[in-house]
């Protein structure tokens, strides 16, 4: 995702955050259904998904901000 314009990278970050949370929570629900531990695994999956989403989103956002800063500097 290195050299794309910033708009596309932001869309990528958004999709990453949303997918993380959905997969985390959905996976938790599915595992709950299999092992009948309602709603413990849903919660674990939800918070895991949220944490991963925040962490990965933060790293990608820092990357993007520094890339924008470098663009503006005169070459």
């Amino acid at each position: 995702m290195g050299g794309l314009p910033p708009a596309f990278r932001l869309v990528g970050i958004g999709w990453y955050v949303a997918l993380c949370i959905v997969l985390g929570a959905g996976g938790g629900v599915w595992l709950d259904r299999r092992f009948d531990l309602d709603p413990l695994l849903t919660l674990v999956g939800l918070f895991l998904g949220l944490g991963l989403a925040f962490y990965g989103g933060y790293l990608m956002l820092l990357d993007l901000l520094s890339a924008i800063g470098q663009r503006r500097r005169p070459r």
Binding site: V29, W30, D38, P39, T42, L46, L50
Partner: protein, 363 residues
Amino acid sequence: MSKKSVTIIITIGTIVLLLVGFLSLRSPRPIVELKAETVFQIGGFPIANTIITSWIVIVLLTAFCFFAFRRMELVPRGLQNFAEMAMEGFYNLVVTTAGEKHARRFFPVVATIFFYVLVANWLGLFPGVATIGKVEEMRAEEEGGEILEKGFVFDKVGGMNVIMPGVPSWPPHEPGSIDLKLAEDATPAEKEAALEEATKDLGKDEKAGLLVPFLRSVNTDINSPLALALMSAIFVEFWGISALGFLRYGSKFVNVRRLLQGKILDGFIDVFVGVLEFFAEVARIVSFTFRLFGNILAGEILFLVILFLLPVIALDLVYGMELFVGLIQAFIFAMLTLVFGVVAVSGHGDEHETKEESPATPS
């Protein structure tokens, strides 16, 4: 690509997205729950889903400050740079409103209010908040229990129980909901019978009931804006008393000076105005609370209704508006606290003096 073909592609894409959204992505009919639902209890004390979200907000803010200011460098980079930018921007705003002399006194509380409400409002827009939860099944009326008159059937989509789905079908109808047709004065036995009747042919993984989300936007619970408004009111009084002294600040409310001097009519007018000031303070608490609560709750209701009516395109527009409203409400709460603090600090009879340091000079 010519301009005309781009226009055609965008139009067709929009219509396709609208159709796809309307047919297969709609949610059940919205039920608005004004009270925050309790998720679990700690020894009799009910923990609501807004409390859990507020814990997450606190953890986020604390972690941000911890990581930003861990190693302070003279020329800041990275996270520290961003934090200093935000702080300095807000501090300049406070200085333009409150004047150089008092800005330091006001800044901590006002900045706390601003950043807390901002992060809380924006966290409520994340995917997963107010949509993922457990299903509280409908119960018959016993001592304390109540039958919910509307419930939803949460059913399977592709082997996994997706919470809050729409039921894809043609022609599009109202996604799987149960309506119990109860008369106004049905007995508990009749309610139980109606419930049995309605839920007797649910599938294996289908549950009927009301969705209790695990997380919910903090300011949709009226207790949170109320707490913030009370805190801001107490701080405004505190600033007034600490700047002017108790007697001089109290003379704004209990103004008996002219009465004691002997001018009866003016004296009574002053006493009356003092009582009105007191009621204005109380009314301010109510107005702060309802402003923040109403704006955020209206956003949630709008989301639910748009999810039911026209999911894909209109939802993006509503999302943008909610981002803006969250920011503006945080800004307004902080600024109003600041303005009333400035009024409290500058005192009642200072208008006769020359305005040397007029606080709101344009920068």
